[in-house]
Symmetry: C2
Subunit: 409 residues, 2 copies
């Protein structure tokens, strides 16, 4: 775990308290030695919850639990451990989740299905749940409104820096806050929440509305990032609303009163998602891939992901090589409508290729200068329609091999 | 290009002459210095031809040419260059192909559409066709029946060893030979021929039958290998039959008389495909992924490719880490029918996980010993149906990053 901090890291923002949220972390000794690895959050009575989970067909036991618990729409506690994902652990894995939830429920004084559980770490090893249940009572006794940073650090695995984002918004005249923490570095690909992220607000919003806001916000944030095209078995994004803020009642359909809240929520989700890419295993560069001129937004996203997941594109960027031919290849392999002879490719705002061939008088110098920076912009215009999409990824470097060739040892 | 020879390399077999095939190579100076980079093959009058090409939507100009020429079903010559793929080169690229074909046609005394063209190398740079047309006359004068090794070497790009395979078969009582050469190392993914490969036989077979044999043979050979999931813009597999062997007439539908020939052809295609994986960029280990128990063969192949293309699986194998959890992840992310609680995973014939959890008393020692070898077998049983498929890939190592972070420099 002793990898250097990503050069793309961002400092942890200051996270003010959110009424109705008390949290903390402790070292339960699940796998790591000498660091926090267990987080508990207690939520005020009346807290509603929404969630998005991995689409992987072999999800971990905590995913099964959360999907079921989410049907109630209510949450009183969250328990998260790092170091062991509790995936592919059979009946024992399901039992472990139930035991954790029951232990937390007893401490909080709620039903076990109001407790949400997430685990991240190695797959296929039995979770030592007795270490969690043994640590929970004193952890619960220590929960506080200011435990954000410690919680953000405790959920890290191969992450090299803690990740959080916060915004305020007004509902009517009342200020509400939205804060989130996230972890994720490898096994990151879209079509799900792609890591663990927990977002909290003091707004008072019914669970179905909260779910609609979250599902919509995910489409352009967590579902538009990829590190290595590998889809985790544990991805979990939960959004909790404690309802402690005294704002005007929000109607079930949301509507104009929520405009500012939606914008702030989308900003928190977007910032958290980009922090995950910034900590992509071995990342040296943040890559933004914008595709326009596609036959539809869905088609544009598929082409953008084909580029963002191409090992040859990602190694070229790592090598600071403006090899736009590989971008052409990645467009073509996506299987989406594309016409070689209308295609344009730009890096750093400089169009290098247009209409199926290199731009006349193309000067590589400004592109090379751009690609040597920490943030690289790739743009592709398919020239077919009005569909557009943007996704983010990172480069593929030696450090990715280092980290993943020895993760368990 | 000065990369060490792959530890998975196989020695070049001795390739006896095939009546009706004369070939050679020369240094045309297209991109490389001091090595052959241009191959010409002259084929006897009456030669039939079949082909399979990339499914990439941005194919190179030579692909357009070959697809059109293939409609005639006849071939008299093949011209191949290495160092420049003539992809995304617009009108000039198409003109270059036509000029090469016309120059070869004049030397051979045939129509230009009986000349097949293939190019491999960097994308997006104009092909200096004048170097090809200038080199062709003396190259043509030097063609010989024994030019196989030189041709196999001249088509290499990032390849670290030349690739060829040969077999004999009987049609009736007459022995015929099938020999092929191939190149390919990176930008290798299925759904196409996935590189350049040229296979020759002295059998006399009508073009439509030849095409059916090739299409069928590709499904379980070249379309079941992957190095990096990236689909080349230039992949070309051509099969030429000179018809010089004096065997009984083969009916248009083929039938039992071709049984031995089909087996031998499939063996040549399979051997060539595996040679490409053995030379996968940076490969240290050959990985065989067998999936059984799927709902269909198509589903099994998709699951196998999801495993074979997973960077996390490939880096784990590179690190000699029997991390079967990542195999579970890759099964789940394929999006194909899978039931976590029926899934089994084996490495080196040892079942590590069954029915959704680790096998009781699982001993990692024999698996670790197996994974330290050059050839690693992964087996997955989905436990759902009778669909099965096998694909081959290689591990993902530092050398892949080295090679692809500096390909153009």
């Amino acid at each position: 775990m002793a990898h250097a901090v990503s050069p793309l890291a961002q400092p942890l923002p200051d996270l003010p308290p959110i009424a109705g949220v008390r949290l903390g972390a402790t070292a339960a000794g699940i796998r790591y030695v000498g660091r926090d690895d267990l987080v508990m959050v207690e939520l005020a009575p009346g807290t509603t919850v929404a969630g998005v989970f991995t689409t992987n067909r072999c999800p971990g036991a905590p995913i099964d639990w959360c999907r079921s618990a989410l049907k109630g729409g209510k949450a009183r506690a969250l328990v998260v451990n790092a170091g062991n994902a509790n995936v592919f652990t059979g009946r024992a894995g399901a039992d472990a989740v139930r035991q954790s939830a029951e232990a937390a429920a007893e401490l909080v004084g709620c039903r076990s299905r109001e407790v949400f559980i997430a685990s991240t770490g190695v797959i296929g090893q039995p979770l030592p749940v007795e270490k969690i249940t043994a640590a929970l009572p004193s952890l619960h006794a220590s929960l506080a409104e200011d435990g954000w940073e410690r919680a953000a650090r405790a959920i890290m695995t191969t992450d090299t820096f803690p990740k959080a984002a916060t915004r305020t918004a007004r509902i009517g005249e009342t200020e509400v806050r939205i804060s989130g923490i996230a972890k994720g570095s490898g096994m990151i690909a879209p079509d799900m929440a792609t890591m663990l992220a927990f977002v909290f607000t003091d707004a008072k919003l019914p669970a179905p509305l909260l779910q609609r806001l979250l599902t919509k916000g995910v489409a352009t944030s967590f579902n538009c990032i990829t590190v290595d095209s590998d889809t985790s078995t544990s991805d979990t994004l939960l959004l909790f609303a404690t309802g402690t803020a005294k704002h005007p009642r929000v109607p079930p359909e949301g509507g104009p009163i929520l405009r500012g809240f939606r914008t702030a929520l989308d900003a928190v989700l977007h910032e958290l998602a980009l922090l995950v890419v910034r900590d992509g295993e071995g990342a040296q560069k943040l890559i933004k891939v914008s595709v326009s001129g596609a036959v539809s937004a869905t088609s544009a996203r598929r082409v953008a992901l084909s580029i963002a997941n191409s090992p040859l594109v990602k190694t070229a960027i790592a090598g600071e090589d403006a090899n736009w031919g590989r971008i052409v290849m990645a467009v073509g392999k996506a299987g989406e409508p594309a016409d070689r002879d209308r295609l344009g490719v730009a890096i750093g705002g400089v169009w290098m290729a247009r209409n199926g061939t290199v731009v006349e008088g193309y000067d590589e110098a400004p592109v090379v200068a751009h690609i040597k920076g920490r943030e690289v912009d790739i743009a592709v215009d398919l020239g077919l329609g009005r569909g557009a999409a943007t996704v983010w990824t990172c480069d593929l470097t030696h450090a990715y091999i280092d980290i993943n060739g020895s993760y368990r040892s």
